[in-house]
Amino acid sequence: MMSRARGLWLVLLFALATLGGLSLGVVGSVDAAPAGARSTRPAGTGRGPVGRQGKPPRARGEVPGTLGVAAGPTMAGSAVYPAQEIPLRFTHDRHLALGLSCDRCHDDAATSKRVADLLIPAGAACDECHGKQHPRPADEPARCDLCHTKVEGGDRITASVRMPKPLLHFNHELHTSRGSSCKDCHDMTHVRLGSVLQLPTEKSCLTCHDGFTATDRCGACHPSGSDGRLLVRAQDDRTLPALVPRGASSWGLAHDLGFVEDHAVQAKSSGKLCNSCHDDAFCIDCHDGPLRPMRIHAGDYLTLHAQDARAAVMDCQSCHRQQTFCQGCHDRVGFGERDAGEFGVGGSLQFHPADWSGPPGMPQGHAHAAQRNINTCVSCHSEDSCLACHATTGASTPGLDVSPHGGDFARSARCDALAGHSRRMCLRCHAPGDPQLECI
């Protein structure tokens, strides 16, 4: 417990994280990237990633976080094509109409072997037609705003191009040497400023990468780790969105906003697909971990979980063993099974409602609850609770001979199956020699 003052401090912290963060975030997103916000270097004056004052972009914070964090929101953009910022004014359509070929400006594209190669033209390439500006002679008037959109005072560029490398393996030279032309992958008709929209989509790649014309191995294009699994996040920028299955290539594994609650069916039917991105530790973090998923067990879950368990909203057993984890905790705080006490029958804080259980002849409301969802019983009760009434009088733990079986149980295939697999189950209630011990 904490004092009210400390609680208020936390409320203030929450407000700071949410509302303060909101304003910071929006400002950060509207303005150009900090990496180039005050760059004195015009866009595209060199090779390699464009960044802060000519340096490569700084690697961003890698966020491990709790599971709540890991499943939480990430930044905008695509995991394959991170969000770009291109504060330029340019019309591809008009340049193509003049008869310019692609390689007139993108002269290194046909021989590029890596996605890290910067293939947008340098400013000097524009000077051939638009006049000397990169660098600009002293007597030449500044015409920065002809192409640049972020200009102050007529000659100060306040934001440069930010174009993080795609999270892909790609070799332009390999493709052009096999007869691919630029327009096979980049549709530049009716395009003004080029953007990620003109980069090939997975669908267009798969027209050739179909397993026959070219390989359809995921790792051929998507980077993989040492263990062969796809790298679902950029290693130098974990804040970028993760590579998640989406749309027609997802095999039904689209990681939508309800995926955490609903992934069990997919995992059962196609676990191999899950394993192509997730390792064992990823599964166990949730399914047997001290890292409780914040969204799944939010707020006062200690109080609320009983309702979830009865409603079977989730499968508690997928993470918790009921006869140890659940029963141990319930027993510790006083809810566990006990002969008498506050929570027992007649107790001041009786857990179960009236008419729940009693001697033979009394109403037995618990029976229906057990039939509907016995998981809720098992989380507090061990076998001995059932034996107290349901065992026969001659059993090793004598009961009251209240049979839980229906009338035709002894003739059923279910009886054969249960008795045929393990006699322990039968002998907990029936004594050796009991005629009811055998199926008919």
Partner: protein, 480 residues
């Protein structure tokens, strides 16, 4: 040990190998109020240490100009994860009797070996294998075992699998408590070693379909029944079958992937029931719109030593529907429905009739996520009713990256009001607020801190703190 052994074995043949070590230290502290007139407060002070070691790309490249061995040439790797955990609070320290015994299995116990195995992939172009502590999450349930698994792919797009070993026992020094079969309380007779075998046929390298048919059986040794008198009057029971399942799973990709049906079914030979069936249809209508429908039917099942199998009679049926749309680059919206059907069996022996033969539970949720370059948020509203009770609430989850994205601030808010359908006194509300930060301390070293303030009908205020230090390093060693 496994890692050291494997490194020793393969070091002579490997020119290079990637070694990854992951260490996570997690601390958590909060109080639990034990219900009752005394309202005793119990402290939880958990400390958990994970250590994971992996050695990858053990086999050298086949071709002299290769940096790493080609996938089609096969590869070996070793992965492992150990966990040590302990609760220093009064929750475990002052527990007595059964509670102490059960709690200590989870929070006051030994080292958990979560997994640790040598894995071979595509050896000889046809064989995949694993040897060591491993687990499977599939249509066959969650289970862990110490043993081996092998898969041989045939040219007929069919793979044959065989696996066997010993089911993991929670009470072992290197046990794994969660994955031990459920159904019997942790008794001394529970501490037995159960052999397990299985086999499967699966489709392999088929582009439009993934399907698997599998069988698994495990045994309860005689030691488990030593306290009972057998049918012949002698003390002790012979070994019995503890679990026996057959499963069929299939996943398809049709209409160029726009429609993806999936199916999984498990037949429990021990209870003579189809006790876990699920089907799903996912439809990617456009790049922006997706729909997913699911049907799940389960009958609670336990290991076959447990009498709980006798009482688990009726299936729980669950229907789910999710629709998601991405109207723009920043927004994602979704709606979700979940409905469940519970059944009561009206047998004369019960001395009571249920109020209804069928009971329902269900509800819906809707929400949106919004992402900009440095800020992201997700908000949800939800409501449910029927079996279990009523609940309505919402949440807001935000993250903001600052300081060149070395630091991220998290803010979360959860609120819910509830009313139990069984006991009228169990009703109330809960409001929780969390603030936290994720800091990248250095390359591969991260610190995550979260504080939560909680207000409920039962707590004027409660505080919970969580911190995690994570170190994730990978090195490539060897001559290349």
């Amino acid at each position: 040990m496994l890692v050291a052994f494997a490194v020793g074995i393969f070091a002579t043949s490997a020119d290079a190998a990637d070694v990854r070590t992951v260490s996570r230290t997690i601390g958590e502290g909060y109080m639990v109020r034990a219900p009752g007139p005394d309202a005793t407060l119990l402290s939880r002070r958990r400390l958990v240490q994970y250590v994971g070691v992996g050695v990858y790309r053990i086999l050298p490249p086949k071709q002299p100009d290769e940096l790493v061995r080609a996938e089609e040439d096969g590869q070996l790797q070793i992965v492992s994860s150990l966990r040590i955990r302990h609760d220093f609070g009064t929750f475990t320290r002052r527990a007595t009797g059964d509670a102490a015994r059960l709690i200590n299995q989870n929070d006051g116990r030994q080292i958990d070996l979560l997994f640790g195995y040598l894995e071979g992939e595509n050896l000889g172009g046809v064989v995949d294998l694993r040897a060591g502590r491993q687990f499977e999450m599939s249509g066959l349930d969650f289970y862990a075992f110490d043993g081996g698994w092998i898969r041989v792919r045939t040219p007929a797009h069919l793979a044959v699998e065989a696996f066997g070993g010993f089911a993991v026992d929670a009470s072992d020094l290197f046990g794994f408590p969660t994955f031990e079969p459920d159904g019997t309380a942790d008794e001394s007779t529970d501490r037995v070693t159960s052999p397990m075998v299985g086999a499967a046929f699966a489709m392999a390298d088929v582009k439009f379909m993934d399907a698997r048919f599998a069988y698994r059986r495990s045994w309860s040794p005689a030691a488990f029944g030593e306290d009972l008198i057998g049918p012949d009057g002698s003390r002790g029971l012979p070994a019995a079958i503890d679990q026996e399942f057959v499963t069929a799973t299939a996943s398809l990709r049709i209409a160029d992937g726009k429609v993806s049906p999936a199916f999984a079914a498990r037949y429990n030979l021990g209870t003579s029931r189809l006790d876990d069936t699920s089907a799903m249809l996912s439809w990617a209508m456009t790049e922006m719109h997706t729909v997913r429908a699911q049907y799940i039917r389960t009958i609670p099942a336990f290991d076959l030593d447990s009498i709980f199998n006798v009482f688990a009679l009726e299936p729980i049926e669950d229907v789910r529907l999710v629709y998601e749309v991405r109207p723009g680059p920043y927004w994602t919206l979704y709606g979700r429905f979940q409905g469940r059907i519970f059944r009561n069996d009206t047998t004369a022996e019960l001395e009571t009739e249920p109020d209804a033969k069928t009971r329902f539970g269900g509800g819906g949720a809707g929400g949106a996520s919004y992402r900009r370059r440095r800020f992201a948020a997700r908000a949800d509203l939800f409501g449910m009713g029927g079996e279990g009770g009523e609940r309505i609430g919402g949440d807001l989850d935000t993250r903001t990256h600052i300081v060149y994205d070395r630091l991220a601030l998290d803010g979360r808010f959860y609120a819910v009001g509830y009313r139990d359908d069984l006991v009228k006194a169990r009703r109330g509300y809960s409001v929780a607020m969390q603030a936290g930060g994720n800091l990248r301390v250095a390359h591969g070293v991260y610190l995550n801190v979260v504080g939560e303030q909680l207000f409920t009908r039962f707590y004027k205020s409660a505080f919970r703190a969580f911190a995690m230090l994570s170190v994730d390093w990978a090195v490539r060693g060897g001559r290349r």
